[in-house]
Amino acid sequence: MIIEMREFTRVEGNGKAEIVIEDGEVKDVRLQIIEGPRFFELLTLGRHYYDVPDLEARICAICYLSHSVASVIGIERAFGVEVPEEITLLRELGLIGEFLESHSLHLYLLVAPDVFGYPDAIRMATKHGELVKEGLALKAFGNRLRVVVGGREIHGINVKPGGFGRYPTVEELEEIERESEALLRLARRAVRLFAQLDPYGAKAKHFVATDGYLWGEKLISDEPGEFHYTERIEERSLVYSFAKQSRYKGEAFFVGALPRLLLKSEMLTPTARRLFEEHREKLETGYVSYNNLAQAIELVYSLERANEIAKTLLDRGIEGENVPVEPREGEGIGYVEAPRGLLIHHYRIDNSGNIAYSNIITPTALNHAMIEASLLKEARELYGEVDEGRMIGRLEETVRAFDPCISCSVHLVKL
């Protein structure tokens, strides 16, 4: 017998799951990404490098800047271009905006209704209007950063190989400095709220992240050593889903806010670090549902870091100089932490600057096996114990904890 979950709600994109029951027991769970394939690597193949980050942005609206930045870094590495600190700080500011926008969307609008027992945040707002407003304020500030750095709230084209179309003004940076400080109080409240949730889903055994907090040259995991993705991560196609599944040394693994905190807590800002220590024991159990709490702590990190960056840039002043980019034959990988976890853009570029090979692996594809493992564990515990409706409700919450981004996951290609 197969229990079909209907399409997931309050997640980005179109997905569902099937629970396979045999002899009265849960035998298997299949996560089906039913969003149509989007063929991004084919789209960028043969195209001039300069246009590619803007196209890759369209992979996902919630994290478009992560895609543009990963793309830009991959391209710059292929050409051997180095950019000065001013540019890296601004990119970081943009990615922080994306963390704020994406995490607050997830926590306040998609997860909080589960906590308070509502079908959505709009209906929740009648009783918990303050909370919804706080979430929207954080989200709007995140979007403000995306406008300043990225050029628009969604799919801006301001992030370019070698720099930016436009650099922020002093007034914009001052506003960022002020706002980030003012909003910190709200983010700390979010940590208190999400720390109360009971654990559910599976416990992750393996974690993978970039070696810097928001991007890196290499990857790290719960095991010693730095590595490139091709050394430990393997992808395969599934017959029942448009997303491929990745494994770390053959096993399911986890990317996202919780893995970042567990692997990189020493890189956090002061308050975020304190909050991490306060909840360390819980987080270290590795329950995937603590990803929600980890995201709340990252809201605090993001605001503190945005404040630091704005201060630094105001102190030293903005030069607004782009680095010249000369195309040459080469290969480069951009590793970025998207809000949902590790994002990989890998390119080979020919000597006229056109893309000859591209491989993109998104966080949701990397987490695919871990989501299935969590659903399986949860279904085994609940099947026969609670009625089917409640079981399915809990399974949906388990999926939601990963904050999956399904649109992202459906265009993986090896050519």
Partner: protein, 246 residues
């Protein structure tokens, strides 16, 4: 008080941006909710109670059999259907990958399965009649607000009829095409975005699709050629969002 209009948001295959942009309306979303009740919007709510919609917003391309079924359901059960965003109106980026679907699937997934019956990505407007088409990748959120408010007040929303160029002039942005020789599709692209990319000193990449009517793609083509861009580059640029043949 009058009954609220029933609003459904249907997301086919896309990046989620056109649906997300509705949530980015913030307080204005609450203004809209004075007139509308959202009865289907799976990114935002677990409720799904509609079988009739006064207004249906459909985002994305038809890329699977599931998308097509959902689109037909939205059309059959709605009074006023809006194709929202360049995916829905012109196919946007995923619609511009030209290989036949079999070959695309093989290139990406090998000989594996085709679980949901993939179709070549096509805009919504190729399958059903729509009552209004609002392009943009994504559209400007003020626009969707205006359109929904107009409908709520019984006014037929108006389509803009000017290119991005005009918005540069209104905002006094320096012309990047003439002054800096950047490949800018502003002269032939459907305006309404406040020329936000030119504000960043960058050329318009045509994300809102072509302005119908009087624009002159041939002359744009000539300008880009005279700036030294080769045919293949120009053609691909033209095709990216709207499968546009120069």
């Amino acid at each position: 008080m009058m009954d609220k209009l029933k609003l459904g948001v249907f997301e086919l295959t896309d990046c989620g941006g056109c649906a997300l942009n509705i949530l980015f309306l913030y307080e204005k979303l609450f203004d809209l909710l004075e007139f509308y009740e959202i009865t289907e919007f799976h990114m935002a709510t677990s409720l799904s109670e509609g079988n009739h919609y006064d207004v249906a917003l459909v985002t994305g391309t038809v890329s699977t059999q599931r998308d097509l079924n959902l689109l037909k359901e939205a059309r059959n059960h709605s009074e006023y259907l809006i194709a929202l965003g360049t995916c829905a109106t012109h196919g946007s980026v995923q619609g511009s990958v030209e290989l036949p679907i079999r070959e695309k699937l093989k290139a990406v997934y090998g000989d594996g399965g085709d679980p949901m019956r993939a179709l070549d990505s096509k805009p919504v407007v190729e399958y059903v009649a729509v009552d209004f088409a609002l392009p943009g990748c994504p559209y400007d959120k003020e626009e969707v607000y205006q359109v929904l408010m107009d409908i709520a007040k019984g006014i037929e929303p108006v389509r803009k009829d000017y290119p991005v160029c005009l918005e540069c002039k209104l905002n006094e942005y320096e012309c990047v095409l003439v002054k800096r020789g950047l490949p800018c599709l502003g002269p032939i692209t459907y305006g309404g975005c406040k020329a936000v990319c030119v504000r960043s000193g960058l050329g318009c990449i045509g994300c809102r699709g072509p302005l119908p009517g009087e624009v002159n793609p041939a002359s744009e083509y000539e300008i880009l050629k005279s700036l030294g861009y080769d045919d293949e580059y120009i053609i691909r640029k033209f095709k990216t969002f709207a499968g546009w043949e120069p």
